[in-house]
């Protein structure tokens, strides 16, 4: 898409998915938005439309947002068929009206996935991600028990790669972009971030098995290597991490099948 670099105001038609609640039927409704500055953000345009609706006594369009700078992962619209809309490596809140042209019809929907039920209009329930995280997306490190930070050297390359993976904002665009509604990129990013660091080594097997297991339980689909996820990711997290996770997963499954676990529950004689 070619950016509209002119300074001129534009008018568009917004075609928005309206749905009053989870079990209600939804439909597209058109709203005109006139005389917009190209420097306005997409969400500011929605604010404006909402203020007009409110003045008319109608209910404004519910949409999720918070930081408005691409880091909290709250905003989540599918715009013209693409999660977070046109543009590469941005979240919905980082989209500016200069991307569009006068007269455009812009279609806005919520992220669509079975595992993300619609709450209202453009807002979905993404709590499945929290469930995956609580099942294993951590390193166990009790406050007060940490060793001196510089005691473990970590090669810069590893730290940088871990950071690439850790940049995930948990928005769910990967799921919405995937035809299987898989959460593999989300899970792989966390598994890789922690697995690339020596601190994460101890719980590595347990982590990947638990997180992948929960992902499946939550109704997310499987990965069939289309990699739409990376293309839609506002942080452009690489699908290479999925391959890395698959290796981890295989190794961990193998080890857990053949390793004898101790039967001890800890403790000792009184």
């Amino acid at each position: 898409m070619v950016a509209n670099n002119s300074q001129q105001a534009l008018s568009i038609t917004l075609r928005v998915w309206r749905q009053a609640g989870p079990d209600q039927p939804g439909k597209f409704v058109d709203y005109p938005a006139k005389d917009l500055s190209p420097h306005m953000s997409f969400l500011e345009m929605l604010d404006m439309v909402n203020d007009e609706l409110t003045r008319k006594g109608e209910e404004p369009i519910a949409f999720a947002h918070d930081c408005r700078e691409g880091i909290c992962g709250t905003c989540s619209c599918t715009i013209n068929g693409k999660p977070h809309g046109p543009g590469r490596g941005i979240a919905t809140c980082q989209l500016y009206m200069r991307t569009f042209h006068d007269g455009d019809v812009i279609v806005v929907e919520p992220f669509r996935a079975t595992a993300f039920p619609i709450v209202k209009d453009l807002v979905t329930d993404r709590s499945g991600f929290d469930k995956i995280m609580k099942s294993g997306g951590f390193i166990t490190a009790r406050a007060g028990s940490a060793p001196e930070a510089n005691a473990t050297l970590i090669p810069k390359e590893n730290a940088d790669l871990a950071m690439d993976a850790a940049a995930c904002i948990g928005c769910g665009a990967c799921v919405a972009a995937c035809k299987n509604a898989s959460a593999m990129l989300f899970v792989a990013a966390k598994v890789s971030h922690l697995g690339l660091l020596p601190q994460g080594e101890v719980e590595r097997d347990r982590r990947v098995l638990a997180m992948v297991g929960t992902m499946e339980e939550q109704g997310f689909g499987n990965c069939t290597n289309y990699y739409e996820c990376s293309a839609a990711c506002p942080k452009l997290i690489s699908h290479d991490f999925i391959a890395r996770m698959n290796r981890d997963y295989l190794k961990a499954s193998f080890r857990s099948a053949f390793q004898h676990a101790s039967n001890s529950t800890g403790g000792g004689a009184g």
């Binding site: 408005r68 929290d130 060793p147 970590i154």
Partner: protein
Amino acid sequence: MAKLESKTPPGPLADKWRKYKTDIKLINPANKRKYDVIVVGAGLAGSSAAATLAELGYKVKNFVFHDSPRRAHSIAAQGGINAAKNYQNDGDSVHRLFYDTIKGGDYRSREANVHRLAEVSVNIIDQCVAQGVPFAREYGGLLANRSFGGAQVSRTFYARGQTGQQLLLGAYSALMRMVGSGGVQLFTNSEMLDLVVIDGHAKGIIVRDLITGEISRHAADAVVLATGGYGNVFNLSTYARGSNTTAIWRAYKRRACFANPCYTQIHPTCIPVSGEYQSKLTLMSESLRNDGRIWVPKNKEDRLKDPNSIPEADRDYYLERMYPAFGNLCPRDIASRAAKRVCDEGRGVGTSGPGVYLDFSDAIRRLGENMVRERYGNLFDIYHEITGESAYQTPMRIYPAVHYTMGGLWVDYNLMSNLPGLFVLGEANFSDHGANRLGASALMQGLADGYFVVPYTVGNYLADQKPASRPSTDAPEFKAAEENVRSMTKQLLGNKGTQPVSHFHKRLGKIMWEYCGMARNTAGLRKALEELPKLREEFWASVNVPGSGEALNQSLEQAGRVADFIELGELMCLDALTREESCGGHFREEHQYPDGECKRDDENFAHVAAWEFQGPGKPPLLNKEPLAYESVKMSVRNYK
């Protein structure tokens, strides 16, 4: 009149915290399970507190208005976190970090709290590394550092331009681990709308489920508020849109004192305003001042010229000129006011709003474009997205914007408010930054409070409360608080006015920015104090909140928050008017030195102003906690 005892432990400054920890009362592990602790908020302060308290064995209930704890505003912090590790061998120490923070705060913070903060700063880095926070590293594998404003050492740890994100995700993972193990019960999409006080102690909260509209009561043995700052009172700010004052404001109305509400931080490096429709201002991290040079044209006539065509001799690198010792890295309040001054002189650049240049051409020449990209690439990208301009080719345009609130609920050394059982952490309290916060110190404070302070101090309070003695939610105080919430919701929804909430928020923001922003004076503040009550009345007469209370209703959420902001605005202006001096971020035009620097009045204002609610329509009562400096000598801040 509230009793404001700082409860600072006796003894030499450097021994206080250690001694406190050895002297506090302990609770045995079996009994810890019998205590319920409510934690509201899961930013750095809330999630670290909830996870750590649960790990100790308390039963924690954690409430956030976000749909996931990972979305708290802390996620947006860019630049870094301070710690006195002295890894650079450049002369840093706990004492120096303590001293810089006290001085940076313009001698308006409590010595003992700040010293403790500096002490535990080193543990924070250890803790975060153990959790897997991918801090930047040197080629040898050691942790890397950068410098931030107000310091002459390199003590800031960072994770690219996403330090807050990585620290929050670390705390969030610790929190989710405790949610998984049952130690924390998590309530997302849940907004605290009132505090329940029984026999003078905080014993519960009233919560609205933002998805279903259900209003519920929750009792506990102690309540911890970690609900963040209130900078959105200005409408335009670098805060996330949802950040608000409601939790602490409603606690204030239950008689928790609000300290130094007028202390606001205006950050010097933000992208300038571009139009009326604007919903937020974006920060360009202070770390950019490490390598960027700030300037405006010497001559007004050059202000709209292509900056690259303005010769060196016609540029005024005003910070380097005025503050040669600290240059572009002088503290935020000073850098912001200097920008205002040169713009007021008519030398501000750019067509949209006024701005100054932040120029990287020297750095690119010195380090090469790749190195600059490595250090600041993501910030340059953000700048490009928003303005359509490349900062590799042309200087950034920046202008100050509201960024942080040093004021907040009053707390003692235990981080407990004047209401026993109510603890306040992170940006929501007032405690550590005085009248101005240094860069990279908010993240430090949030995590210090949550991981290392309240786990001790909450225990110390609970040890005096009988186990399992918390009141039932049937208590009349719970009923009354719930009624209070219901009637406000009903009033907002029933009020079929004509204007959206944003209309009032924008107007409030303009009043606050104009009269209670970077520079304040008696006439302006008086004017604001006339206009704000009118705005409040108009809000209640003509706000329109469509939809119902029994479902997701974002207008209703916003309306409640803006109603509180309007009231808070009044208190801020009153505080600013009463504080007849300039200090840190609070600049009263009447009180300045001939060179435009802040003129403090230590004789009359070396105190914390803690305001106490006296009932609707009544003027609040001013309580003063004197600030006694034992280790540091109060002096005029000098960054020249």
